[in-house]
């Protein structure tokens, strides 16, 4: 009884008593977050790790998985705190502070838990976790979910899909950069400039997804 009530509350759109989870809308959110409004290539979120961790394919995959993981957790934490704590208490203006603290402590927690219980996973993801605290894609997804007024279900879907979209861009970028390492890039454009050009080219290609799912 309480459990159903709790579930209903959690799945509800904020501000109303309705719960709802429409598969069609979920698909639209997923497609939008991965392809149409890709975090990196269209929304400009998470550019720093996108540039910083895309030199090697392995680290790109590691970073991507870590981001998906943390995004999901951060969404869970931030959505719950915001809608079940801050809003009822009239403290919605503390959103930014609350979210950044939630994310920072979540990352700490995850790091500790991983280190203790799954050293292999920690080995794989560990070095990326501290980087993630100050990654605006994570805070971005938490804030976007509130701005879009998604209920918890949609928020989680959006978070996972955004993480996948980030990973997709990162992995493609890593492949392309490894190819470019052997290319005869003009000296003036070597390094960061050409990385931005690659991102621009990717971003143009992703325009092909425009309108998908709408």
């Amino acid at each position: 009884m309480t459990v159903t009530l709790l579930l209903q509350t959690l799945l509800a759109a904020p501000g109303t008593g309705n719960s709802g989870f429409d598969v069609g809308r979920m698909m639209a959110i997923i497609i939008a977050a991965i392809f149409v409004n890709n975090f990196v290539l269209s929304r400009f979120l998470g550019i720093c790790p996108f540039l910083g961790v895309s030199k090697q394919l392995d680290s790109a995959i590691g970073m991507g998985s870590a981001v998906i993981f943390v995004m999901t957790l951060a969404t869970l934490g931030s959505w719950t705190v915001y809608n079940l704590l801050l809003v009822p208490m009239g403290l919605a203006y503390l959103r930014t502070i609350a979210f950044i603290l939630i994310i920072a402590s979540l990352v700490q927690l995850v790091e500790m838990i991983l280190q203790k219980f799954s050293p292999t996973l920690y080995q794989a993801l560990g070095i990326f976790l501290p980087l993630i605290t100050t990654n605006c894609a994570i805070l971005g997804v938490a804030v976007l979910n509130i701005d879009e007024k998604y209920n918890l279900g949609y928020s989680l879907v959006n978070a996972i899909a955004a993480g996948i979209g980030f990973t997709l861009a990162l992995v493609l970028m890593a492949g392309l950069r490894q190819k470019l390492e052997l290319a005869d890039v003009p000296p003036a454009l070597k390094g960061k400039p050409v990385a931005f050009l690659v991102a621009g080219v990717m971003s143009i290609a992703f325009l092909g997804f425009a309108g998908l799912g709408s």
Binding site: T16, G20, N37, I97, A210, G211, S214
Partner: protein
């Protein structure tokens, strides 16, 4: 242990100071923000509703109709509608509502004024974040929304979809989003019985010639003066 306590205390202190500072500023800015929003909306409402009865000063009161849904509106499943009247007469001369449509890159909000027969007298884009130079052109006084005027739900459909409204070139998605959201809003209001007759071709019945009478619709609540029943 004492060390930990001390650290925790310092952190608490900092957080507390922050919260207090923010609370203070918030208490200053919150009313301004609310007022700002309200002013914006009032202005938009006045501008759009003017077409219902040019020259008169108007009064608004909002009603909410349960069951009129719009998945993109902030408030699920409830289409918020404002009744327009010319004071001191309390009889309505038409309605205002905001239509929400998912466009190319944003949810576009269109404010629509409809007369009692269900035909649009004017509309304006309240919010959009479409591509500048492309979809964003709907917000510039565009032929698209001007074309709604004088049409009822039936007529508000893109030519491509078999209706008579021409899309903005290269912006089918935006155009369709706006058009369909307006159409759906009107249809929903018609279904709720807010219009006096079943929607008719606008030219046949002159606008605002009738007085207030029965509202058999599923009106649930009639709020006080505009501004408190938020249309956000």
């Amino acid at each position: 242990m004492a060390e930990m306590l001390k650290l925790g205390l310092i952190l608490m202190l900092v957080a507390l100071a922050a919260a207090v500072a923010l609370g203070l500023v918030n208490s200053r800015t919150a009313p301004i923000i609310a007022l700002q929003k309200e002013m914006e909306k009032q202005n938009a409402m006045r501008e759009v509703a003017m077409s219902l009865s040019p020259g008169d000063s108007l009064a608004f009161d909002s009603i909410s109709v349960e069951g009129l849904g719009n998945p993109f509106a902030s408030v699920d499943n409830t289409l918020e509608i404002v009744r327009v009247s010319v004071p001191p007469d309390t009889s309505r001369i038409g309605y205002l509502f905001i239509a929400y449509g998912k466009g190319y890159s944003s949810t576009i909000q269109t404010m629509v004024a409809a007369d009692l027969t269900g035909s649009v007298s004017s509309s304006a884009i309240l919010y959009q974040q479409e591509t500048p130079g492309l979809g964003a052109n709907v917000a510039a006084p565009s032929k698209l929304i001007e074309n709604y005027s004088g049409r009822s739900a039936e007529g508000i459909l893109l030519s491509k979809d078999g209706g008579g409204i021409d899309a903005i070139t290269g912006c089918t998605i935006t155009s369709r989003a706006v058009t369909n959201s307006v159409r759906e809003g009107l249809l929903a209001m018609g279904d709720a019985g807010l219009f006096r007759t079943a929607p008719v071709i606008a030219e046949e019945i002159p606008a605002h010639q009738d007085s207030c009478d029965s509202e058999e619709g599923a009106v649930v609540s009639v709020d006080g003066p505009a501004g408190e029943g938020g249309m956000e």
